[in-house]
């Protein structure tokens, strides 16, 4: 197997070389055959990397400890999901995963754009293949994930670091990589445009979409990283300005800047050099992020360890990127001249420009502060460090300024805003912001930064609501339909614009959550059983300390009952887990009680077996959950903006006026009755049945209750069924409670068909979103088919005209209203 993996990597390397050579030669000689052969070779790389990934995952799943990488990051007792996640758990595998992902995205991008941007494709392939070649080179000469033991392989692996055995950690790196990798595609298109000189705005269209995808994935990865830090690390916060977190944030800043400034180029033909520069910078920063986390240049919690050789290779690659890219930009400067000048500083262009500067400055600042220890050691020989307070001091005002611009930007007109339309546009949002600010002062909020942040959030919400309402009004007047239908029609006609506004709502909600940080409360105390202490309005009582264990680990759990004022609100169970293979690194299992207004966050910080006492660190985190909610809304908005132009056309075209409102009303009527349709008894029976599949029979067959071969003469089964009835039907417990009760009764989780896996229980949380996404995708596909069949010819010219008309209308409407 490892030999096969090695062979695949080498083959992919050769295929890269061929893809580059054939594409470039083909483009220069204008030979379609060569170009197609290069593109084919590029698809081949993806195929090879997919097979290689399959080999790697296979090795993990079958516990092939002859491979060093597998031995190091996996062990037999590890749950299957984490065995697979171990693929990207270490340095070598993560590089391989990176190449695999880039292959998949690159192939997708090449495939979808092969007709539309025919002249760019060979160079796109060449740039993508070069990047991939570099990473494969890294693997082949330096970090081969398939290298094997020369001596006899060990019997068992060392296991993935327990900190990484967490649901979010299993999906956080892939989504972050997805984001970083997707940024390579805009770069490849940008380079191709520069090389060929086809610098009209066509290449931007392909690029914009991919940047959006990458941006969404990057945001997702960063948010998951925050969730992971919050739930798993147990220090009560979610962002510590750790170098690795910052590394992911840097390209996010520049990509955000690009997504804004690209609009200026599309609308006004300005900022063309700037946009190319942003694309290059974003790509460079993704490589730099990889470099930072893998070479040991900066020290961090989750860097991969120090590696000088790797650092050298990366440095060479980065120097090449910068020289080549900016060399090309300078070479093409004459073609990149701006078509327009900035008319006025009170215009949307100017707002975008300001937004860009601030974002770029943020990126520069974070980079500087992250590298500061390294830089100072280089310059003065003295290692100086800066901590989170320094970051916060700067990023707080920067963040607030950005938030303000989020509100201001959409209110300004392109070209130039007149005084009267300034008043018109700003009046209501500003009033709203001041009302909120006044209310806050009256309520006695004294944390100025949070207060300003709340007021600015109100301003942004006001702005966006006003945009939606005014747009819908205009459309309603024009089409004569009702408000809601007009609103949906409006959104479906300019998805990017209104999708963007929804993203802004999400961002403002996240800021709301960040502002909650200002009201955070922390306390810690040692408690003996029965003792209690009070933080804010919560009283925490230590009931007992219990020790349990399963195949992988020993668990020490503090049982705490919590009172809100005098009212008991439940029990919480913070714990410490000691994995058998890594007893020196216990993991902290935080107990969190989530709420709309605040989270109660309890950590078992220490314990004393002798007197059963426990040290609890308690944090009250106001508004944290709005960050996650904000992200969900942001994703929704980005998804909307990403939809193809025709996806929602049927809404505008086919649905009769009033239909949308009617159907929403109907749905609202139906929903409660649907909910009522399921009687409690029926759900109980379903739950009971489901649990029979999750709890083992005790007759010794080691099978779930519903699958016992001794049935119907099984003595163990009868006892189990009676117990299950007692818990489910009489006491009305939920699934998790029943499982916990069984585990408690038998003193071990061995009674369960699957161990209670906290991490993967959270899938339940993701599931509705997943269903929503899938059904939304389905609806889009169906809708597209509908709208295509109905009016094949009539729609096409109309929508083209629409495009031009809409942009003109947009400008004129603004001046009018």
């Amino acid at each position: 197997m490892p030999a096969l993996g090695n062979a695949l990597l080498l083959a992919a390397f050769i295929a890269c070389a061929y893809a580059i050579a054939a594409s470039v030669a083909g483009a220069r000689r204008r030979s379609t055959r060569l170009i197609e052969s290069g593109t084919g070779a590029y698809y081949l790389i993806t195929a090879l990397m997919t097979v290689a990934s399959g080999v790697m995952v296979h090795a993990f799943v079958t516990n092939n400890y002859a491979i060093k990488y597998v031995q190091r990051y996996s062990e037999a007792a590890q749950p299957l999901a984490y065995k697979i996640a171990s693929y990207w758990g270490g340095l070598d595998g993560s590089v391989m995963f990176w190449v695999f992902l880039l292959g998949v995205f690159g192939s997708l991008a090449v495939y979808t754009n092969r007709e539309r941007h025919r002249e760019l494709i060979p160079y796109v392939v060449a740039v993508l293949a070069t990047t991939q070649m570099f990473f494969i080179l890294l693997m082949v000469v330096h970090n081969n994930p398939f290298s094997t033991f020369l001596t006899a392989p060990p019997r068992d692996g060392r296991g993935l670091s327990p900190l990484l055995q967490n649901f979010y950690m299993a999906i956080h790196p892939p989504s972050l990589y997805t984001g970083l990798v997707a940024m390579t595609i805009p770069y490849a298109f940008g380079m191709a445009a520069l090389i060929t000189g086809h610098l009209d705005d066509a290449w931007l269209r392909a690029v914009r979409r991919w940047t959006m995808i990458g941006w969404l994935a990057l945001s997702f990865g960063l948010t998951l990283g925050m969730l992971w830090a919050y739930e798993e690390l147990g220090w009560g916060g979610y962002w510590a300005w750790d170098p690795v977190e910052n590394a992911g944030l840097l390209p996010w800043f520049t990509a955000t800047a690009f997504l804004h400034s690209v609009m200026v180029q599309e609308r006004r033909g300005m900022l063309r050099v700037w946009n190319v520069t942003l694309v290059i910078t974003t790509f460079f920063l993704t490589i730099f992020a990889t470099f930072m986390t893998r070479s040991g240049v900066v020290q961090s919690v989750h860097a991969f360890g120090e590696d000088r050789e790797l650092a050298r290779l990366f440095t060479i690659f980065m120097i090449l990127i910068v020289t080549f890219s900016f060399g090309l930009v300078i070479h093409r400067l004459p073609l990149l001249r701006s078509r327009n000048e900035l008319d006025s500083w009170v215009s949307r262009e100017a707002a975008f420009l300001a937004n860009n500067w601030i974002l770029l400055f943020s990126a520069f600042f974070v980079l500087f502060a992250t590298m500061f220890p390294t830089l100072s050691e280089l310059v003065t020989g003295e290692r100086l460090t800066v901590g989170p307070p320094f970051f916060n001091k700067w990023m707080l005002p920067i963040g607030l300024a950005l938030l303000a611009l989020t509100g201001v930007g959409p209110l300004l007109a392109w070209r130039k805003s007149t005084i009267s339309n300034l008043v018109e546009q700003f009046l209501y949002p500003v009033i709203f912001a001041f009302v909120v600010a006044g209310g806050l002062v009256a309520l006695g909020v004294r944390v100025w930064s949070s207060g300003v942040c709340f007021a600015l959030c109100a301003f942004v919400f006001g702005t966006i609501a006003q945009e939606f309402i005014r747009g819908a009004e205009v459309r309603r007047a024009a089409s004569g339909s009702d408000r809601l239908t007009a609103m949906i029609g409006l959104v479906s006609r300019s998805k990017r614009r209104y999708g963007g506004y929804i993203v802004h709502v999400g961002i403002a909600l996240m800021f709301l959550g960040f502002a909650g940080e200002g009201f955070k409360q922390e306390a810690e105390k040692i408690l003996r059983p029965g003792e209690q202490f009070t933080v804010a309005h919560f009283t925490i009582r230590h009931e007992a300390l219990r020790v349990t264990s399963d195949a992988q680990k020993q668990m020490i759990t503090g049982h705490v009952s919590v009172l809100d004022g005098d009212k008991p609100i439940g029990t919480m169970e913070p714990a410490k887990w000691f994995y058998a293979k890594r007893e020196q690194e216990p993991t902290t299992e935080v107990a969190i009680r989530r709420g709309v207004s605040e989270d109660l966050y309890i950590v078992l910080a220490g314990y004393e077996a002798a007197d059963q006492s426990a040290t609890y660190a308690v944090t009250i985190n106001p508004l944290v959950n709005w960050i996650w909610l904000g992200f969900a809304i942001m994703a929704l908005g980005t998804g909307l903006a990403l939809l193809p132009e025709s996806a929602l056309a049927f809404v505008a075209a086919k649905v009769p006026s009033g239909a949308a409102t009617a159907s929403v009303l109907l749905l609202m009527l139906l929903l409660p009755s649907l909910a009522r349709a399921q009687t409690p008894d029926a759900t109980r029976a379903v739950l009971r049945k489901q649990l029979e599949g999750e709890i083992l029979c005790t007759c010794g067959c080691r099978r779930p209750m519903n699958d016992c071969p001794m049935e119907p003469n099984c003595h163990g089964l009868d006892a189990q069924r009676a117990k299950l009835d007692k818990y489910v039907v009489e006491q009305g417990m939920e699934r998790d409670q029943v499982l916990a009760a069984f585990a408690a009764d038998y003193g071990t989780q061995a009674i369960l068909a699957r161990p209670i896996d906290k991490g993967f229980n959270r899938l339940a949380w993701v599931f509705p979103y997943l269903v929503g996404l899938v059904s939304a995708a389905g609806a889009v596909v169906i809708a597209r088919r509908w709208s295509r069949n109905a009016e094949p010819e009539a729609a096409a010219p109309a929508s083209q005209e629409d495009e031009a008309l809409r942009s003109r209308l947009d400008d004129e409407l603004r001046d009018l209203d």
């Binding site: 270490g90 990484l164 220090w235 300005w241 020290q299 901590g387 320094f390 700067w394 810690e524 040692i526």
Partner: protein
């Protein structure tokens, strides 16, 4: 064109100068020296009252009964300094553990600030994993 370039250049210069001025002035307040125990103990009085990140190895941990007050020694290359800390320590804070402490040096020893203890895990597997999270340079 050249007048415009001049204008832009001048604006850029002013902005850059102002920002870097601000940057360095704030930097001075917030930087901490990253030092090993022996470097500091060569001339302790020079470091009195300054914020430091102190690197060393823990020995002789004492904890007042039923409290979160710790006293311990930090050493490296033969130099020792006594340190005091109140609060929760990371799981990896043990005898012999490699630590980085944030705090100030006084005549009576090194005072570690709140949440200022970072301990590296003694495991040899993946040296950078499993350090206390609340760190930026350990």
């Amino acid at each position: 064109m050249s007048a415009k370039a001049l204008k832009i250049g001048a604006t850029a210069a002013v902005v850059v100068a102002a920002l870097s001025g601000l940057l360095f002035s704030t930097l001075r307040e917030d930087t901490q020296f990253y030092k090993h125990v022996d470097e500091v103990m060569n001339d302790p009085s020079a470091w009195h009252g300054r914020r430091l990140q102190l690197h060393g190895y823990v020995a002789g941990i004492e904890r007042k009964r039923s409290s979160l007050e710790y006293r311990f020694n930090v050493q490296s290359n033969g130099s020792v300094v006594q340190a005091s800390y109140t609060g929760v320590v990371p799981d990896t804070f043990k005898e012999g553990a490699e630590v980085v402490l944030k705090g100030t040096l006084g005549a009576d020893g090194f005072h570690v600030e709140r949440n200022g203890v970072m301990a590296k895990c003694p495991s040899k597997y993946e040296p950078s994993k499993g350090v206390l999270p609340n760190t930026s340079g350990s």
